[in-house]
């Protein structure tokens, strides 16, 4: 007799998983094999990757196209500065505390911006981020509009040696990316993830099947905000200096992230990874050309949107029907010779 059973992994996903674990081991060992500049670049890549995965969770799965995530990047950065400089916290503790505070702050914001839809939501979130920027510019103890530098002692408290600090910063970035991808992946694999995907495909049917749309979106918004703030803290731990314009830069922390996600393929877990690699490949090869680099970046955005609106991974998936992160369920049948 034949029995049907359900599995979630595929050959491609199992292979991908093995490769990912191996890659992770190799990456974790990078402080022993990579140069200092590579380490720092990889750290930056991981942080962007994490931002991209978070934005993708919001926009690609929950349909919340926010243009204001820089609010939380900057918030996390400022919390790092404030809590270490005035609260005397260890930087890592300060960064995590910044995440918690961001989660708290994001609730009233969500209540406000969730009243808006589509383009209004996008612009509403952008204005909220501007309010953050202008408000932090009024806080003179954090340097007001001039900004502030992270005292050297604070940075030194991370580790005694320079190489120790560099390795730690790298591991923090790698860890953040792995945790974010892991959390997003785990989230999408649970019933909540199923609910979120359902909402994305049809809100009417989803609410008819018992899904509380508002609450599900709120959860996503709060979790993303908290993680975005943590990433923001890590970013500014690398930058060492913060100012309102840098912390709440819509270009650096949102426009480029949208670019990464959409170019890579929104609404997939693979997309942000591919997008991040593409973005950095472009930047590392062209950034020295000044204006020409930026013009090229703009042109890439336009061309990809016209030729492959589902992004690079969308193209690949449509062509080969593969999935590296086993999110979907497959029903298989097996001939059960044992009987029962």
């Amino acid at each position: 007799m034949t029995t049907a059973f359900v599995t979630r992994s595929t050959r491609a996903s199992r292979i991908a998983m093995i490769i990912a674990v191996l890659a992770l081991i190799v990456l974790a060992a990078a402080p022993w094999w990579a140069g200092r500049a590579d380490l720092r670049l990889m750290g930056e890549i991981f942080l962007y990757l994490a931002l991209a995965c978070l934005w993708n969770l919001m926009a690609g799965y929950a349909g919340l196209v926010s243009v204001g995530q820089q609010a939380f990047v900057g918030f996390g950065g400022y919390m790092l500065f404030a809590l270490t400089m005035f609260g005397g916290l260890h930087p890592v503790v300060a960064i995590l505390a910044g995440g918690v505070l961001a989660a708290i702050v994001s609730v009233p914001i969500a209540i406000l911006v969730f009243r808006l839809r589509g383009a209004y939501f996008a612009i509403g979130t952008w204005v909220v981020a501007e309010v953050f920027r202008l408000s932090f510019a009024q806080v003179s103890s954090l340097g007001g509009g001039s900004g502030s530098s992270l005292p050297v002692d604070v940075v030194r408290s991370l580790a005694d040696s320079r190489s120790g600090r560099e390795a730690l910063a790298y591991w923090l970035a790698l860890g953040a990316a792995v945790v974010v991808i892991g959390v997003v992946y785990a989230f999408l694999r649970t019933r909540r993830g199923l609910a979120l995907t359902a909402i994305r495909d049809s809100e009417v049917a989803a609410s008819g099947l018992g899904i509380d749309i508002w609450r599900t979106k709120l959860e996503v918004y709060v979790v993303t905000s908290a993680f975005t703030a943590i990433i923001g803290g890590l970013i500014f731990l690398q930058k060492l200096r913060i100012s309102p314009d840098a912390a709440f830069s819509v270009n650096d922390w949102t426009a480029f992230v949208i670019f990464i996600v959409v170019i890579g393929g929104i609404g997939t877990l693979e997309g942000p990874i591919i997008g991040t690699l593409l973005f950095f490949a472009l930047r590392e090869t062209l950034a020295d050309y000044g204006t020409a680099y930026l013009i090229a970046l703009g042109a890439v955005a336009i061309v990809v949107m016209l030729k492959a609106p589902k992004g690079v991974w969308g193209l690949i998936r449509d062509r080969f029907d593969i999935e590296l992160f086993p999110l979907s369920y497959r029903v298989r049948t097996r001939d059960d010779h044992q009987g029962n």
Binding site: A59, V65, V67, L112, R115, L116, G118, A119, Y120, A122, I123, G124, W126, V127, V128, E130, V131, L134, S135, A137, Q138, A255, I258, F259, V262, I266, T291, A292, L294, I295, L297, G298, A299, V300, A301, I302, M305, L306, P309
Partner: protein
Amino acid sequence: MMEWTNAIVQGVLLGGLYALFAAGLSLIFGVMRLVNIAHGDLIVLAAYFGLTTSVMLGVHPFAALMVVVPLMAGLGYVLQRGLLNRTLGDDILPPLLVTFGLSVIIQNALLESYSSDPQKLSGGAIETASLQIGGLALGVLPLLTFGIAVVVIALLQWIFYATSLGRGFRAVSDNQDIAQIMGFNKAHVFGLAMALALAVTAIAGILLGIRTSFDPSVGGGRLIFGFEAVIIGGLGNLWGTLAGGVILGVAQTIGAKIDPGWQLLAGHIVFLIVLAVRPNGLFPRVDH
């Protein structure tokens, strides 16, 4: 008391400038739901076109409008038909990303061709002239800007509601498919809407260039005020856009009166309050 009156009056005039920034945005957002991130940069582009024209022909920037308005309108039509039409749909991301790309390209192309030097259009005596009314000094240029904003909006409103072109805009905006089977070429109608929007942009750019100095990077900063004015006013309502601009302007000057640091903040907060109370803006077109 006089100071507060002055703050409000200056805010209203400032609102005229914002309304002018927003009028084009409002038009294209109303007709095709396009969120144009490059709008601010297009305003700056128009200012540069104005600069080149007035320098090359040796004419007053206002006279340069004769060249810049058709130029921008043509650019708008080509841009819409060649590029933006292909990104329109239910999803707001493709137009968002494409116009972001456009914005980056315009900024850097301007930087390449005009350098980052601040430029200014010299409007002559009008820049500094003023009228004394009841103890208030009203700059002629801000008054003129406000007047032009009112005229432009009245004109757009007239086109929108009293001409067959405007009928086409509204029909296509209401229902693209049905408008098409009535013989409207959607791509062409959208092209015309963008042409009109950029014609307004040309006016806004020239007035901006006379009012203050500009460089390739200043466009983005003003974009958000334009969006705010459009949204406060309500989708597809051009007089609402003017009201939105004025509300924003007055909020800013009153905020600044309390503390200069709150000038921009006050505008944004009023915007958020309006949205919290009326998520569709103050005067949405109520026919859906």
